[in-house]
Assembly symmetry: C2
Homo-oligomer: 262 residues x 2
């Protein structure tokens, strides 16, 4: 089910700037029992990402109505909201008065649920772009190239380092460590997506008295961590238990965090 600017259709204009330049942002979220989970946080992030690109964010009431319409036939599903700068003439400078394009689509929940997964260490490295870091924009070729590195369906996610070797994230998820009673989240000031679930993990730490810090770290630090985990709005929390020959057998903290997030 796809709504483009409020109308059921499966197509968008061929000259949409989202296609021509990746000039837009998106969100993926879960709808359970007809309720979009963590909707306030998702809308806040969408609005802040739009602002970073100087793009007009659709009003919250419009998106709420469209989420409801697009998910009408499914109580539980995944929703995706894309906002682009709109359809326009060729050229990087947006014409004055462009109307942003809203795409709201829904798809079934993933069939399988996992808690512990095997990960792949990607060879593809993320570039540093401080002006776009943190934003969930439509320029995702780095993620595509990284994701194409492995085909084994039993390997669920890939870990992305930046060009300097800092651990940043998963190809479709945020990555965090738990070590010596403390949660460590990668510094995302130069690359990576600053996601809603990552923010929720940090908020859960604060609420439950777990010290948490944001800092840069490399693969050595990851390997010596007690637990390593990934979060996103589709699958919740996955614990990484295997990466090449490295294993992380403990999972107590991940179990607790999964409970707090739910």
């Amino acid at each position: 089910m796809v709504l483009v600017n409020g109308v059921f259709t499966d197509s968008i204009k061929a000259n949409d700037r989202g296609l021509m330049y990746g000039d837009g942002v998106f969100r993926t979220l879960r709808i359970e029992n007809c309720i979009p989970l963590n909707w306030a946080l998702h809308y806040q992030k969408l609005a802040s990402d739009c602002a970073a690109l100087e793009l007009a964010c659709p009003p919250i009431s419009v998106l709420e109505r469209e989420l409801e319409t697009a998910s009408e036939s499914m109580r539980n599903c995944i929703a995706k909201i894309t906002v682009t700068r709109g359809a326009g003439a060729r050229g990087y400078l947006p014409e004055a008065g462009l109307e942003p394009t809203r795409i709201v689509s829904t798809s079934p929940l993933p069939e399988h649920q996992f808690q512990k997964i095997r990960a792949h260490l990607c060879n593809f490295r993320l570039s540093h772009q401080p002006r776009l870091a943190g934003i969930k924009h439509l320029n995702r070729l780095e993620n595509v190239m990284a994701r194409m590195e492995w085909k084994d369906p039993e390997t669920r996610e890939g870990i992305l380092l930046d060009l300097e070797g800092n651990v940043i994230e998963g190809t479709m998820s945020s990555l965090l460590l738990y070590h010596d009673g403390c949660v460590i989240a990668p510094d995302l000031s130069r690359c990576g997506v600053d996601g809603v679930q990552r923010a929720r993990v940090l908020a859960c730490c604060e609420k439950n008295g777990i010290p948490a810090k944001i800092e840069s770290f490399g693969i050595d630090r990851l390997i010596e961590a007690d637990e390593v985990f990934l979060v996103n709005s589709v699958f919740g929390l996955w614990q990484i238990v295997e990466l090449g020959s490295v294993t992380w057998p403990n999972g107590e903290f991940c179990g607790a965090m999964r409970g707090w997030l739910q």
Copy 2:
């Protein structure tokens, strides 16, 4: 006029990976008297960019036919060819058997022709991504952000530096210097688009006995150059004669190069 996979339409699938992730490449070229200029070079570059993304490039005969159809009503026009990985389900990993999407569109030639222009020095800096450098892919948010920095219509182009301060290119063109009888082209191994017209400039240098080299340089080197110029397949060659308080009054070499390129 827009052809998508050979059919006249102004729309593409809302789940095209070109829109979702910028997962594709493009070319812009000039058609004069019904002939696509430098077509062999453009196709070669399209094929090489597709290969870099592990994307199947449409056969040359198909694109030639579609260029002809899309430009049927205009002897002279600008053509744009976009190739994406195709429409597919959500997720960075392309599904097996995806059919690439071809978009061939035409638009009128720009009304005004310039030879000497004023440029803006962009604050936005390009990131380093060696794995994608040189490719004209659809992840062009950096160009959009840089182009939004100035609104003055008399300033025709912006000069982009990378995060280390190396001069790389214009927002929509390749940049080269002429100094002490020699042409210098920026090193594009970490960022920038390695365009067809830049390659043609270097080939013209070889043919006409002008020494040319590719190397990294900063803004100081640009300022002390005898002439600075931009090339692309739409406007040909623009000489930069003004950048802030800096001017480059000489234009003999640019005049000669413009002649060689034609």
